[in-house]
Amino acid sequence: MNQGILNPYGGGPAPSATPIRVTQYTSGTGTFTPLPRTKWIRAFLLAGGSGGNSTGAAQACLGGFAASPVVFVFQKLEASYAYAVGAGGTGVSGGCGNDGGSTTLGTRTAYGPKAPVTNPTGGMQPGESSGYGGGGDTGANATGFGAGGGGTNGGNTTGGTGSGGLIIIEEY
């Protein structure tokens, strides 16, 4: 039986459906315009990771946190959608890092992770890996997408910067 591209159990594309187009954004802002024949959109949104902490006074500094991916499935009701790929939070010298930037598509948002606000004992901590990017080692920037920057200390060097977010849009 042909069920088309619609999922009979919850709306949206069937799990086995093949997208008619896949678009990826790895930075910046702009406008996404779906194809005229697009009916459904499945969007993967990942925010930027947060920056790592730094302080010369603590015994250790926590690395930045990773962003959590969010998937939205929705019917195409608008001709275009503004998007913004959240930047990674920067590390700060002698303080807590910055939050990760949120990633948005239209009104849908994957919120950036908060920066660590406390520092533990027991050594400097690397940033948290996101599954799409590696956390930064001590004081280093994260790689890939959505991962946290590394924490650092000693002489108030700057914590690592989190890596930016990611958007993958599938049209059905």
Partner: protein, 166 residues
């Protein structure tokens, strides 16, 4: 370049791209500022400004006692050649001292037993000079003070990563 989306004087979001974002909203180049920072129309202000590190002082009575915990290796180094004279001695006091200090994870310089044992060595002129270890000889007040000097280094300390007091 990083651009901040300003909403109500607060950075709502930050993106990174080469040119000013075209989607609606007040976008401002923001340097290292992040979400949650304040924007007064010209400057970004960190709501949680970096705190200047507090440098502890050796004279501080409330100084973390872990500053006075040193590893056993550096502790032995503080005795110099006399440590070999102590561990090779048949004197009961020297044997007791070695027993007290060997195989511990760290030595607390403020542990009163250390001064007690060193005072006993001074009183009994131990450890005796040993010809095998040139320069070794009995404990003195000066030696004791150097061994129990509460000022420690990062290398000596059992707990690593602490800020060096002034």
């Amino acid at each position: 370049m990083r651009y901040a989306l300003i909403q109500g004087g607060i950075v709502a979001n930050v993106v990174e791209q080469e040119s000013l974002p075209t989607i609606p909203g007040q976008w401002v180049a923001c340097g290292n500022a992040g979400p949650g920072w304040l924007y007064d129309g010209a400057h970004f202000i960190n709501p949680n400004p970096p705190v200047a590190p507090v440098i502890p002082a050796w004279s501080d009575l409330a100084l973390n006692p872990e500053y006075h915990w040193i590893d056993t290796g550096p502790w032995r180094d503080r005795f110099g050649i006399d440590w070999l004279a102590i561990t090779s001695s048949s004197n009961e006091l020297c044997k007791a001292a070695a027993q007290l200090w060997i195989d511990r994870k760290y030595i607390n310089l403020k542990d009163a037993r250390n001064a007690q044992v060193l005072d006993a060595m001074i009183a009994t002129s131990q450890p005796a000079a040993n010809v095998l270890f040139d320069g070794s000889g009995p404990m003195t007040v000066d030696k004791k003070n150097a061994i129990l000097n509460p000022v420690t280094t990062e290398y000596e300390r059992h707990v690593k990563g602490m800020v060096q007091p002034s």
